[in-house]
C-alpha cells in the first residue's frame, strides 16, 4: 500500500502555496520511485502553519508545516513519510495545543478527511445523524433540536428548533430549506472552511431540516468571493446525489430532498435573509419588510427554513449524540459549541471551536498569541463589520449571546478581529458608515442616507469642525439608524460606531492618532 500524504486544498492553504507543495511532493516521490498517494483535505484551521502537510504515523497523523516546495526534497531525505525528524516537524497534529484544547463538534472532520469522499465521511461518523432522523417523525426531529438549545449561528441567535417548528406547522404544497453561506463578515471563514473541508456535513444538516419540516427542495447561497468553496460544494452535492444521500429517496427513507447551489454576486446585504431570498428569486437583493416571516412566506412565497451554514452543520451531531449531550456544552442560554474565528493583527489566526463561554482574552491572547506586529492590543472587534469594538478593559467578557449584549456588542458569526495600538478608532467608525453606504440595498432611508450622513459627520469630527455639536448629531443619527432601519445592516452599523466613540473617545477629540503612532 502506498504511503498517504495529506495536503490541504483549502483556499487559505492555497493562498500560501499548497498546490505547489502538493506538486513538489508528487514530483519528488516519482523521482525517487516511492509510491505516494496525495489526499487533498480541508484545513485544520491552524493557518500560520499552512501549508500543513500530514502523514500517517502509528499513533495518529504527524504534521510538518509550514512547508515550502523547497523543503520537499529535505523532507524525503529525512523520511518524513514515516515521521522522520525535520525542521518543520510538528509531531502529532492532534497534540498541538491550539488543536488539543478545542472542543470540535462541528469541525471534527475538517482537515482530516477527503472532503469529496463519502466513504471517508461515513468512516468518521458522518450520516449517523441523518440516519437517525429517517427513523424519527418530523415532530420528534424538531423536538430534539429545540431540546438541544441550538440558536442561530448567523448572528441573531434565534432558537433553531422553534423556527423549524413554525415551518413544520405551516401548510403548503411546497416548502424550502435555504442555507445562508453568504459569509460576508470580515474576520469570518468558518463556512468557507466547511464547504471546502467537510461539505457533506452541511448537506446532512440540511437534509435533516428537510425531513423535519417536510421540505423537498433546498438552496445554498454561496458568496462569489468564495469560488473554490462554490466549486467543492457543488461537486459534493453531485456526489451526495449519486450516492442517494440526496434525490428522490434520501437514504432509502422514501422522502425526497435535493439541493441547488446558488452563487451570489458581491452584495453583502444578500447575507440578510430576506434579501437573500430576493436574490435566489432572481431579483435585486432588496430587503423585505417582515412580517410575513420567511417561515410562513419565504422563498417564492412558500414556508422556508433559513439557517446559517453553521446552524445546519451543528444539527448532525445533535441528532447522532442526542440533545442532552449537546446541551452539556456551553453556558446559560448559549448552549453547544461555537466555531470562533481569530483574525486581524494576530500571531496565530485560525479556527477555534469551543463550548460557549470563553473570554475574548482567552481567544486573542491564549490562542491568538497577541498581535502579529508585537505591539499592544488596543481594540478587538467581535461579530464582523456590524459588531462592537472592545477595549482592553472588556476583554474578559465571556463570548456568549447574553454577555455580549450586556456590553452592547454581539457575537455575530463568531469572528474576532484584533487591532494593535496603531489603529485610529475614528477612522474605523468612519469605515463602518462607509461600508454601510456601499452595501446598503437602498430600500430604507435611515440606512441609505444615514450611512452617508454618518461618513460626513465623522469627517467633520476628525477635521475638528464644531466637535461637540457634531458628536451630538452622530449619536442622534445612530439612534435613528438603530430604531428606524429595516434590517441589521442599517440597524447595527451604529454598534461599531458607538463602541468606538464610547470606548475610545480620545480618538474623536484630538488629531488622528495614526500620525502620532508612526
Amino acid at each position: 500500500m502506498s504511503a498517504r500524504v495529506f495536503v490541504p486544498a483549502d483556499s487559505s492553504a492555497l493562498s500560501v502555496g499548497a498546490d505547489a507543495v502538493a506538486a513538489a511532493i508528487e514530483a519528488e516521490a516519482r523521482r525517487r520511485g516511492i509510491d505516494v498517494a496525495i489526499v487533498r483535505t480541508g484545513s485544520r484551521g491552524l493557518f500560520w502553519l499552512e501549508p500543513l502537510v500530514e502523514v500517517e504515523g502509528a499513533a495518529g497523523r504527524l504534521g510538518y508545516g509550514p512547508v515550502t516546495p523547497g523543503d520537499v526534497a529535505g523532507l524525503f531525505d529525512r523520511n518524513f513519510l514515516t515521521g522522520g525528524a525535520h525542521a518543520t516537524a510538528l509531531g502529532r497534529v492532534e497534540a498541538i495545543p491550539y488543536l488539543a484544547r478545542q472542543q470540535r463538534l462541528v469541525f471534527a472532520r475538517c482537515g482530516v478527511t477527503d472532503p469529496l469522499s463519502l466513504d471517508d465521511f461515513r468512516a468518521n461518523g458522518g450520516l449517523q445523524g441523518l440516519q437517525r432522523a429517517t427513523t424519527l417523525s418530523p415532530d420528534a426531529i424538531v423536538d430534539e433540536v429545540v431540546a438541544s438549545g441550538l440558536r442561530g449561528r448567523g448572528g441573531a441567535g434565534f432558537p433553531t428548533g422553534i423556527k423549524w417548528g413554525a415551518v413544520r406547522n405551516a401548510q403548503a404544497d411546497q416548502k424550502y430549506v435555504v442555507c445562508n453561506a453568504d459569509e460576508g463578515d470580515s474576520g469570518t471563514f468558518a463556512d468557507r472552511m466547511l464547504m471546502e473541508g467537510d461539505p457533506f456535513l452541511v448537506i446532512e444538516g440540511m437534509a435533516i431540516a428537510a425531513l423535519a419540516v417536510k421540505a423537498t427542495r433546498g438552496y445554498v447561497y454561496i458568496r462569489s468571493e468564495y469560488p473554490h468553496a462554490f466549486a467543492v460544494f457543488s461537486r459534493a452535492i453531485e456526489v451526495a446525489r449519486a450516492a442517494g444521500v440526496l434525490g428522490a429517496n434520501v437514504l432509502d427513507s422514501g422522502r425526497a430532498f435535493d439541493i441547488e447551489p446558488r452563487l451570489g454576486a458581491g452584495a453583502y446585504v444578500c447575507g440578510e435573509e430576506t434579501s437573500m431570498l430576493e436574490s435566489i428569486e432572481g431579483k435585486r437583493g432588496l430587503v423585505r419588510v417582515k412580517p410575513p416571516l420567511p417561515a410562513l412566506s419565504g422563498l417564492f412565497g412558500k414556508p422556508t427554513v433559513i439557517n446559517n451554514m453553521l446552524s445546519f452543520a451543528s444539527v448532525p451531531w445533535i441528532l447522532a449524540n442526542g440533545a442532552k449531550a449537546y446541551a452539556e456544552y456551553g453556558v446559560g442560554r448559549s448552549l453547544g459549541s461555537q466555531p470562533f474565528q481569530i483574525a486581524g493583527n494576530v500571531k496565530y489566526g485560525g479556527l477555534v471551536e469551543l463550548a460557549f463561554g470563553p473570554t475574548i482574552r482567552e481567544l486573542v491572547e491564549d490562542f491568538g498569541g497577541g498581535t502579529r506586529s508585537g505591539r499592544p492590543i488596543r481594540a478587538v472587534q467581535v461579530g464582523g463589520p456590524l459588531g462592537a469594538y472592545f477595549p482592553e478593559s472588556l476583554l474578559d467578557t465571556p463570548l456568549e449571546y447574553e454577555a455580549m449584549t450586556r456590553v452592547k456588542g454581539m457575537l455575530g458569526h463568531g469572528g474576532i478581529v484584533v487591532f494593535d495600538d496603531s489603529v485610529d478608532m475614528a477612522r474605523q467608525a468612519r469605515f463602518a458608515f462607509a461600508f454601510c453606504a456601499v452595501e446598503s440595498c437602498g430600500k430604507c432611508t435611515p440606512c441609505r442616507i444615514g450611512s452617508t450622513r454618518g461618513v460626513e459627520t465623522v469627517d467633520r469630527i476628525i477635521a475638528g469642525d464644531d466637535r461637540p455639536k457634531n458628536l451630538e448629531v452622530l449619536r442622534d443619527l445612530c439612534e435613528v439608524m438603530t430604531d428606524g432601519s429595516l434590517c441589521a445592516l442599517g440597524g447595527l452599523t451604529p454598534l461599531p460606531v458607538l463602541s468606538a466613540l464610547d470606548h475610545f473617545p480620545e480618538d474623536f477629540a484630538t488629531a488622528p492618532r495614526r500620525a502620532a503612532a508612526e
Binding site: 474576520g187 469570518t188 471563514f189 468564495y226 454576486a265 452584495a267 435566489i280 493583527n345
Partner: protein, 160 residues
C-alpha cells in the same frame, strides 16, 4: 482565466436558454454570460428580459445592483483586493497607497493598458492570512508590497 469570447447574440441566446426554466434564473444566467464574454454587454439585457419575462428595466436593475456584474470588459487580469477590517488591521490600505504611488493603479478605476484591474472587495474569508486578494480567482494570502509588485508585473507582461 479562460479567454473570453467576443459578444455574440446567438451564443448569448444559447447561454440564456440553458437555464431559462430554472426558478429564479437571473443570477445563474448573468454569471454564465459574464463567464463567457467577460462582462454583461448592453445588448444582452433585452435578451435576458425577454427570456425571463421581465421588463428591460428590471433586468438592468438586477445587473446594476450586483457589484460582480461588469458592464465592460476588464482591463487585463482582475485582482479583487480585500479592504475589510481584518485586512485593514494588517495594512491593506498601505498596499493600496503603494499601488497608487508606485504603479499608478487605483482600486475600482480601471486604467487602459495596465494589464491589471484592481477591485475593492470586503472579505475573501482568508482573514487569518490577511492581507488577502484573489487574482483571476486564485487566492493570495499574506500579501505584501513585493508580491503586489510581482502581480502587477505579471499583469503588464500579459497585456503586451
Amino acid at each position: 482565466m479562460t479567454a473570453a469570447a467576443a459578444f455574440d447574440v446567438t451564443l448569448a441566446r444559447a447561454i440564456i436558454a440553458r437555464k431559462q426554466s430554472t426558478p429564479g434564473a437571473a443570477l445563474p444566467i448573468l454569471h454564465d454570460l459574464q463567464h463567457a464574454f467577460g462582462y454583461i454587454d448592453d445588448a444582452a439585457i433585452p435578451l435576458v428580459a425577454d427570456a425571463l419575462n421581465i421588463s428591460k428595466a428590471e433586468a438592468l436593475g438586477v445587473v446594476s445592483f450586483y457589484p460582480d456584474f461588469r458592464r465592460a470588459p476588464a482591463e487585463g487580469r482582475v485582482m479583487k483586493l480585500c479592504r475589510a477590517e481584518s485586512c485593514q488591521a494588517n495594512g491593506c490600505e498601505e498596499l493600496v497607497a503603494h499601488l497608487e504611488t508606485k504603479h499608478g493603479i487605483a482600486p475600482d478605476r480601471p486604467k487602459p493598458g495596465a494589464g491589471l484591474q484592481v477591485e475593492t472587495v470586503y472579505c475573501l474569508g482568508n482573514c487569518a492570512l490577511s492581507p488577502a486578494a484573489l487574482v483571476d480567482g486564485e487566492p493570495v494570502g499574506r500579501l505584501d508590497a513585493a508580491r503586489l509588485d510581482a502581480i502587477v508585473s505579471a499583469g503588464q507582461a500579459s497585456a503586451q
